[in-house]
Symmetry: C2
Subunit: 154 residues, 2 copies
DNA sequence: CTGGGTGCAAATTCTTTGCAGCTTT
DNA sequence: AAAGCTGCAAAGAATTTGCACCCAG
């Protein structure tokens, strides 16, 4: 299912291309960090990436990892999971619903859609675990923000 | 679209029921905090709930708000948005994919499903903003965790 | 009354930043 | 050589915790 090696090389290439095109230096540290996150299919946090890269670059520091990861994110080379770079939010709406998140201002609006509620999970889910809830997250730019400016939409 | 008053009263009732059944005291603070989050349809963070509750209970402290919110969450009265209570995670997989999150151990696995990729957004989305990506998050208990124990699945 | 709950202040944890020296281009 | 990066250490932000007093049941 996963053409590992190939995928990996492609990603490295893309990484190099993007960096060059934006005049961003490809340092040892950045390369190793990118390698690490591109290899491991997991969804690591900065700390564990730091630990793994450290094995090869013992002098690297955690803040370099953070800076690199956010840089990659800004370049569109990786993504973050969850409502990141933000505080925990709480939701008292227990009805089945979904969310629209504005990537500019952080606004979250509820979405009600029957189609979303009735999603059929793929059979492969059984190889992973026992699901008990499904939720759709739409990302975009809210009306206010897109009217204000047609600016940096990630 | 939103039967406000009715919904609200129901939630308060549910709140009282659950608290009583679990021998959890319904203090002034908890009631006001719950009221606040049940009223405001938004997805507030602890700080803003704190600010709003403070208007009615000027002596309340932020940590009480946190304790109450996590309590409500554990009781199933509210939910949290995003990958909360955790660190930021990074994902190098840029292919269209979705996630299964284990609520016990925090494991995140990729899900590939055509149905998920091709979701039709409701028309109402246009009243909210300009969408550019859609992502399905399945929550559940992974095989390892459900084998280990059939324990606290939120 | 009595045990859980609150407020306060201090501690943690995760993440970011200032700065001087070091590397890529 | 120049601009951009890194590592260090210290700062910041969000959230949690210890403890003595207080209040709901």
């Amino acid at each position: 299912m996963e053409p590992m090696k190939c995928e990996f090389d492609e990603r490295i290439k893309l990484f190099e291309q993007v960096c060059k095109s934006k005049n961003i230096k490809i340092t040892h540290q950045r390369m190793e960090i990118f390698r690490e996150i591109a290899t491991a299919g997991d969804h690591s946090d900065a700390e564990s990436i730091y630990q793994r890269v450290k094995e090869r670059l013992p002098t690297i520091s955690l803040d370099t990892v953070y800076r690199a990861l956010w840089l990659f994110n800004d370049l569109g080379l990786i993504k973050t999971l969850g409502a990141t770079r933000e505080r925990t939010r709480f939701d008292a709406n227990l009805n089945q619903h979904h969310h629209f998140t504005c990537s500019v201002c952080g606004l979250i609006r509820d979405i009600y859609a029957k189609d979303f509620d009735e999603l059929k999970l793929p059979n492969s889910i059984n190889e992973i675990g026992q699901p008990y809830s499904t939720h759709v997250e739409v990302r975009g730019v809210c009306l206010t923000c897109s009217q204000n400016k047609k600016q940096d939409q990630r």
